[in-house]
Amino acid sequence: MSEPTSSTSTVAEEQVVLPDTSDHDKIAIEQSGKQGDVLLEVDHVTLRFGGVVALNDVDFQIRRGEILGLIGPNGAGKTTCFNAMTGVYTPTDGKIRFKGHEIAGIKPHKINHLGIARTFQNIRLFPEMSAMENVMVGCDARHKSSVPGVLFRLVRVRPSEEELPASGIRRSLAKVFGISRHTLEERAGRKRSMELLRFVGIADRAGELARNLPYGYQRRLEIARALATEPELICLDEPAAGFNPAEKEDLMGLIRRIRDLGHTVLVIEHDMKLVLGVTDRIVVLEFGQKIAEGTPDEVARNPKVIAAYLGEPDDAA
């Protein structure tokens, strides 16, 4: 698996707006289990493409509430591992369990609904939608209304006082017929999207088309879109690729704050300083095999890891 180089340089005048942390309680997610429980289990997974063994008996666990780093040289199988976890590939052998459910072979959108979201190494936003709309697509994943329910507004909800429209006739109508659940979900989605954009620090350009956003904004937008699906596990695929040191520093803060919202974070990263600085534990892959696992300190001292990975310059990506 080749991992293309992210060589795009960041635009110097990008102003990173410091996030407003007072909103955190609004976008925090509900937990379905206890901190420290096993959230995702990669159980002796092997993945072959024809004769190529991309993953060979890889075995590790992600615990609820931790930040786990997945590192390894180019072609070690990190992204393949992500793809297997999010339903893009089905493992040839072995099992992947999320919250106890077997997820290997399930459709990607169902895995997303179970609570796994991801970002991409090579940015894959919806280029012709605004930043806001991109995040709203993520929010939509959590909405309950069916297609006929949306088309004909079947499910009505008795609105609370603040949900009622301000003006006369629409207010009266809403009082009599209620408001469709779809409308309320749409409204909530819009609000939540804005809060998420604020959380990642790009709310100032919410209305702009994703393809017109500067590189750093696009990376953050991907994170916001993934968070919008309310994942218990968020997988970040090289979120710092192409970032300068100051931006990397910001990103480390962002990753910690994502954990504070209640998400468990899995991060693939080449930058050792970032990985050692932000993760609780690290799993190291080389040639599709796990060669080490442990705390950042343990991993950094592991001779196998040093030989395989740290021998190369940090920015080998």
């Binding site: 919806f126 709203m136 697509v137 949306v150 879109r225």
Partner: protein
Amino acid sequence: MDFDALISGLDRHTLDGITRGSIYALVALGYTMVYGVMKLINFAHSEVFMVGTWAVLGTYTAIGATAGMGVGMVIAATLLALLAAMLASAGTALAVERIAYRPLRKKGAPPLIFLITGIGCSIVLVETFGQVLRVIFGPPFGRVTVNIPSVLETTTLFEIGGLNITNTRLLIIVGAIAMMFALDTFVNKSRLGRGVRAVAQDPDTASLMGVNQERVIMLVFVLGGAMAGVAALLYSIQYDITKFDIGFFIGLKAFTAAVLGGIGNLRGALVGGLFLGIAEVYASIIWSSEWTNVTAFVVLVIILMFRPTGLLGESLGKARA
């Protein structure tokens, strides 16, 4: 070559062209939406339209609607026929998707296979109305042209500068444009439309972000089918006929209109449809009506030579408010 005839009746001929083009445009939406989401030309869509015209005939027959009823009855019969046509066409489109496309998609078949099964479905549907149903039920099914009662009789509503605006014409043009406006708003503003655009722009990513791709595909077939149903009613009102193979040329023209406007682009379907309708009527006046179809395709080729992606040339994902 009779340019004088064209010039002297330019307003009338343009109106004719717009009427014809509105129907093309509505059918074109079905091609363009399916293409936008699946990158597939649904060749069975022409028969989705054909089924709609039969639904109109069936409704009129079932309720005994004929020419010369009272205003209330005419409105009721027309609305009922509209509903029946939309349901029948949407149902047919959905059935085609289920039977001809979904199983192949699950198996990961190459794109060319879908074209073949689409054409196969088209032939099956045509022969069903031309042969199978005739054997079972007898007339009106069969290989002949069937009259649809002109429940809504054409009357002149008003005149603008010597141009007679009839009720049917007004209904067709206003109806077609209103439906397109509604569809455009739906795709660009609503939550389901957002899902449609997400899949059109990047199906794999949309799926990873929790968008149910199968549901989006079903939705575009249903919406495209419903639009073809509207077109079927408007066609019945204008031409008062149907036939087992009526879908062939309408489908071909609508597909041409979709390509002309930029396939995958909703507004392109409107522009392409109107453009094609007007070009055809002009050609039939300048030369003669035998030249209608020739002109349609010559125009297509010329336009595509200069604008290979069509007049508006964007994809469904890019079409935005």
